[in-house]
């Protein structure tokens, strides 16, 4: 499949599109934590790095098959997320964000001082297993499961927690358990994305997963529209492609990128698709069409 695509578009574009797909998976995980459940997390990159290192170490050292190590990377990231969630999710709002930011920096330092991860030199020699086709399939699976999760009883409970935690608690929702589960699910997708990233870039360095990377993911979600799945996909796509399109301005690239972030926030503070629900929009459109045909008949 990939050789077929390679005939059509250049390897550079394949790489960019693969990256967009990986970021979509990661950003949807964060959207589940921050957008749906309303828990601010500045430490998403830490879970991406846990997934990336786990998958990379399992394939290079233990020769485990790629897909199995990908899954194990996701599961380990989720496990760490759940273990961290127990104490840390008691914090609310900005304080939770700050604590996760601290966790993110701690993870980097730990990876820098551990031997198995290659320390500050980084981990190289990872096989290139990630293909555009695989990423595409995984993106579709992620989007599908996110829709299923959001529109389930569980997802509606999470939305209730986002809107008013105390009210949700009084209505009989075990807020702590739900928040921890949501955190686990979000970090699982971060881990999967991390494993894919490791096997695409083929080199890992702890500093690639700093808090500024966490902010990148948060920006994807917020710019697209918090809690909106199509919004997250759109936001991620635009913001991943933007620096590539801006290459012609060379060294001013990131300056324009920063200015772009400010401008977009000023004009669309709720995000590009904030408050837009695609399923509802399609439903409304159908209703309208129905009405039109009815009035046409009469």
């Amino acid at each position: 499949m990939d050789s077929l695509i390679a005939n059509l578009i250049s390897p550079y574009y394949i790489k960019i599109f693969t990256l967009v797909g990986i970021y979509i998976i990661i950003a949807l995980g964060l959207n589940f934590i921050t957008g749906v459940t309303g828990q601010l997390s500045f430490g998403h990159a830490a879970f991406v790095s846990i997934g990336a290192y786990t998958a990379a170490i399992l394939t290079t050292r233990l020769q485990l098959p790629f897909l199995a190590s990908l899954l194990l990377g996701g599961l380990l990231a989720a496990l760490v997320g759940i273990l961290l969630g127990f104490p840390i999710l008691r914090l609310t709002g900005d304080y939770l964000g700050i604590a996760t930011l601290g966790f993110c920096e701690i993870v980097i330092v730990v990876f820098q001082n551990t031997e198995i991860t290659g320390g500050t030199i980084g981990l190289s020699g990872i096989a290139k297993n990630t293909s555009l086709t695989l990423v595409f399939i995984l993106v579709v699976i992620t989007i599908w499961s996110m829709y299923r999760l959001q529109n389930s009883r569980f997802g509606r409970a999470l939305l209730a927690i986002r809107e008013d935690e105390i009210a949700a608690h009084v209505m009989g929702i075990n807020t702590t358990a739900y928040k921890i589960q949501a955190f686990g699910i979000g970090t699982f997708f971060a881990g999967i994305g991390g494993g894919l990233y490791a096997h695409m870039i083929q080199y890992l360095n702890p500093t690639d997963f700093g808090f500024s990377r966490s902010f990148d993911y948060l920006t994807f979600v917020v710019l697209g529209g918090l809690g909106s799945i199509p919004g997250t996909v759109l936001g991620t796509t635009i913001l991943t492609l933007a620096p590539e399109f801006l290459r012609f301005v060379d060294e001013y690239r990131m300056m324009i990128y920063g200015a772009l972030m400010v401008t977009m926030m000023i004009f669309r503070p709720k995000g590009l698709l904030g408050g837009v629900d695609l399923a509802k929009a399609i439903h409304a459109l159908k209703q309208k069409n129905k009405k039109n045909t009815l009035s046409g008949d009469a």
């Binding site: 601010l40 104490p87 840390i88 008691r90 914090l91 609310t92 709002g93 900005d94 304080y95 964000g97 700050i98 604590a99 930011l101 601290g102 966790f103 920096e105 701690i106 980097i108 330092v109 730990v110 820098q112 001082n113 105390i166 808090f211 500024s212 902010f215 948060l218 920006t219 917020v222 710019l223 918090l226 060294e251 001013y252 690239r253 990131m254 300056m255 990128y257 920063g258 200015a259 772009l260 972030m261 400010v262 926030m265 000023i266 503070p269 709720k270």
Partner: protein, 290 residues
């Protein structure tokens, strides 16, 4: 040995405290984590270098110049990037702040180059011995300057009219504006004071470590921010206490052999303190309205 580490820790900590004050005052009034604050500190250090190395200005005058430039930048950042977002969701100004931070970082990298720049030696390296403790002249200057600035800030906030307005606005933003306080002016003033303190911190760190870098604001900003949260964000004495505490903890951690974990010490402390005292050491409990 212990006293020596304590002095080194306090010197480092007082620079953290100077930056932390900006975070804490801004958060106290508009509940915004101003992620561009670390970049203001970095620009302050660069203005200091340019003033001393290119224009051959006296270091104290250079300090004032850095503070003046950063006041202008800080206030304009607030006007352009935060003011239009005052009434929107919590995350929008945060993203805007990150955008500003990326912008300023890249701007400085383009202007000054990505490599570290040496800070010229402006203070002779005279050492003072007090008992078993050795204090360098630079350390003494930093301690005195930081002390004077913090006391000055306390006096402004306690006794000057605009300082009282700041306290009123941080207590209740809406009521303060109903009572005839020009909240926009108060916010501008807060950004001005915070930025000038950060700039002073930048010049002092340049003097102390003799080297500055376009990306130096990132880690220093994060640690200062930790200091602000540790002490209880929104509280001015809290930021000072948190800064000193972090500086001492970091120096001690390195001294007992955890040099590799230097950057993690601050964050580990932060998480531990937050778990036991969720609003920081001197923070007020969060009010939960039902």
């Amino acid at each position: 040995m212990f006293w020596q580490q304590l002095i080194n820790g306090i010197t480092l900590g007082s620079t953290y405290a100077l930056i932390a004050l900006g975070y804490t005052m801004v958060y106290g009034i508009i509940q915004l984590i101003n992620f561009a604050h670390g970049e203001i500190y970095m620009i302050g250090a660069f203005v200091g270098v340019i003033a001393v190395a290119v224009f051959k200005i006296n270091i104290f005058l250079a300090l004032f110049m850095a503070m003046a430039v950063c006041i202008i930048i800080g206030v304009s950042v607030e006007r352009i990037a935060y003011k239009p977002l005052r009434r929107s969701t919590r995350l929008a100004p945060l993203i805007s702040a990150i955008g500003v931070s990326i912008f300023l970082q890249t701007l400085m990298t383009v202007l000054a180059g990505p490599q570290a720049v040496g800070f010229p030696q402006v203070v002779d390296d005279q050492l003072y011995h007090i008992g078993s403790v050795t204090v360098s002249k630079v350390q003494l200057i930093i301690l005195i300057l930081a002390g004077v600035m913090m006391i000055g800030l306390q006096l402004i906030v306690k006794y000057v009219k605009i300082g009282k307005a700041m306290r009123a606005a941080s207590e209740d933003y809406d009521t303060a504006s109903l009572m005839g306080i020009n909240v926009n002016r108060v916010i501008s003033f807060t950004f001005a004071i915070g930025s000038s303190l950060a700039a002073a911190g930048g010049v002092m760190v340049g003097m102390y470590f003799n080297s500055i870098h376009p990306l130096m604001g990132v880690m220093a900003g994060l640690k200062a921010f930790c200091a602000a949260v540790l002490g209880g964000i929104g509280s001015i004495p809290g930021a000072m206490l948190g800064g000193l505490f972090l500086g001492i903890a970091e120096v001690t951690g390195v001294a007992i052999g955890y040099g590799g974990y230097r950057d993690a010490i601050a964050f580990t402390l932060l998480i531990l303190v937050l778990l036991f005292k969720p609003t920081g050491l001197l923070g007020r409990p969060i009010q939960r309205k039902v």
